[in-house]
């Protein structure tokens, strides 16, 4: 009979820059239990809402995470707008969708590069990040920032994208798309990728539903849930949107879903750029949220559904701002999928969940 041994994983680990610790209980080479531990980088950002007014807090919200920076500022702004009954101009909604989808391309390309690095495909990692640089160039040209964009404000956006810039974005995206299709083909067909991902870390549809998983992690197990399908904000203007799912439920399916979502995001940006109406990009917002007023909002971040909650107190400061990030919702699924896997596959499984611990702890 084999003896159970506890192997610590993280919080410092070569495959995962995020401070996640796991106590892996292993018997021979098989993980029988995984006990997660986070809490190493809790920064108390939600508490800051008491000392920054509702306009200033946008800059705090987008610093929760460098990869979902735009998404957090957007989710926060939409929540405060719902709290105060603010209607955002149509053009601003389109611009928000364009930047949000470009952020998703940036996030997925970054993740695909990290995944390639994890299974030792260095050149693929370099190519993914090379394309990501071109996406960051779009941000720099349109907002002035590469990671923290600071373009969202309560009531709209701070900057417009004129027709020349829009043409340039489309031109860059066309170039990215051509290169990306080649990378995607390698990612989905190369034997060295498949050897590490096919059949690894399988989670069934029933378990994914039962564990309330979200994002590409859930969609890879055929859970057709994506907040964008509700058509909130500018997404309501899309001619068609369907969540991209896979049925396999393994690491390969999670790679595949993210690969296809990059092309979906490029198509969304193109459609929005073609249909964007002229008009104002923001409305002036005056006053303060009423005392005791509450609002809740959800947004599809690159890693999955993110939940936002705000409560006003009659002043320009909020009583509470809450962000429930996709990773915190997926931790239960991660613990579940690690049980029974090979020790050598742990890093690959954790990576395909794309955990963001800084987001989770805030």
């Amino acid at each position: 009979m084999s003896k159970a041994t506890i192997i610590p994983f993280g919080p410092q680990h070569p495959v995962l820059p995020e401070p996640l610790h796991l106590d892996l209980v292993v018997e021979d080479e098989t993980v029988v239990e995984a006990i997660p531990q986070i809490g190493f980088v809790h920064r108390g950002l939600e508490k800051l809402v008491e000392t920054r007014d509702y306009n200033q807090f946008i800059y705090v919200a987008e610093r929760i995470c460098g990869i979902c920076a735009f998404g957090h500022s957007l989710g926060y702004a939409e929540t405060v707008e719902a709290l105060m009954g603010v209607e955002v101009p149509k053009r601003a909604e389109y611009l928000r969708v364009i930047w949000h989808e470009i952020s998703r391309i940036h996030s997925h390309l970054l993740w695909l590069g990290l995944a390639a690095d994890a299974f030792g495909f260095e050149s693929l990692f370099m190519h993914c990040w090379r394309l990501r640089e071109r996406v960051l160039d779009i941000f720099e040209k349109t907002t002035g920032g590469r990671v923290i964009l600071s373009v969202v404000s309560v009531g709209g956006v701070n900057r417009d994208i004129d027709s020349t810039q829009m043409d340039e974005i489309l031109h860059i995206l066309d170039g990215i798309e051509d290169d990306y299709r080649q990378i995607m083909q390698v990612m989905l067909t190369d034997a060295s990728v498949k050897n590490r991902t096919v059949g690894v870390g399988h989670i069934s549809y029933e378990d994914a539903v039962s564990l309330c998983m979200v994002g590409p992690f859930a969609r890879a197990s055929n859970v057709a849930y994506d907040v964008r399908m509700f058509g909130h904000g500018g997404y309501g203007e899309l001619s068609d949107f369907r969540p991209l799912c896979a049925t396999e439920g393994d690491c390969y399916a999670r790679v595949k879903v993210r690969c296809e979502e990059v092309l979906q995001s490029i198509a969304i940006v193109k459609e929005m750029a073609a249909k964007i109406p002229a008009g104002d990009i923001a409305v002036p917002v005056k006053g303060s949220p009423a005392a005791g007023a509450e609002s809740a909002n959800i947004l599809e971040q690159p890693r999955g559904e993110c939940y936002y909650y705000a409560r006003g107190n009659g002043t320009k400061y909020l009583d509470r701002m809450r962000m429930r990030t996709p990773t915190s919702q997926n931790l239960a699924g991660m613990v579940s999928v690690l049980e029974g896997c090979d020790l050598a596959d742990v890093n690959m499984i954790i990576l395909t969940i794309d955990p963001c611990i800084s987001c989770t702890e805030r």
Binding site: G39, C212, A296, I298, G314, L331
Partner: protein, 213 residues
């Protein structure tokens, strides 16, 4: 479009509601705690809990009001864990315990207060001076507004003639106090000092005029 609603939930129904929602196919979205710093509740140290569930584009936020928290075990409310129904809630239940001091019984993966490495206990229940000041200011503004409305209503019923009503009424002390209550204390102090200086100047001028006569 998805819809978002808030509805009340009694503390004793937390577990049964979770079981019912699970069997009806609802997805558990999140659990959050909000410190009740407004003093509106009937307990000194209490939080509200918000359980969110989603199904078919309906986001329902169930609010459990006034849950007693703190270190005194005799006075706190014990909240049942819903991790037997929704395992994903373990993250939020541990967070509510570590940051707000909510006592939650039988969490499936219980970190017993070591989920977050925070330097102070229950940091989210500490009322910052800024927040306290904001609450006091909001309360003063609300009281001044109510007094003004009451005075306006009384003036209307007394039958003030239209000519007088058309004239801009001189600012009463209550109006000025209401405006000052909404300003930061340093600014309000400066304005008060300026007003006192102006009053003193006017008084001195009146004295001078009387002397000349």
């Amino acid at each position: 479009m998805f819809t978002s609603e808030f509805m009340p939930l009694a503390l004793e129904n937390v577990a049964s509601e979770a079981a019912q929602r699970k069997s009806d196919g609802w997805r558990f979205v999140q659990l959050l705690a909000v410190a009740d710093n407004t003093g509106s509740g009937d307990r000194d140290n209490a939080v509200d809990l918000v359980y969110s569930y989603m199904k078919d584009g309906r986001l329902e936020n169930l609010v459990v009001k006034n849950v007693a928290v703190g270190e005194d075990e005799a006075k706190v409310d014990t909240v049942p864990s819903i991790t037997d129904q929704y395992l994903s809630a373990f993250v939020f239940e541990n967070e509510a315990h570590d940051l707000f001091g909510v006592h939650i019984a039988n969490i499936a993966i219980d970190f017993a207060g070591h989920f977050y490495q925070v330097p102070v206990r229950e940091p989210m229940t500490i009322i910052s001076p800024e927040q306290k000041e904001a609450h006091e200011r909001a309360a003063k503004m609300a009281a001044a507004k109510a007094a003004k409305e009451k005075a306006a209503a009384a003036g209307k019923t007394s039958g003030a003639d239209a000519e007088n009503a058309a004239k801009p009424a001189p600012k009463s002390d209550a109006d000025i106090e209401a405006k000052l209550a909404g300003l930061p204390p340093e600014k309000a102090a400066k304005i008060r000092a300026a007003m006192e200086a102006k009053a003193a100047k006017e008084k001195a001028a009146q004295k001078g005029e009387a002397g000349n006569e």
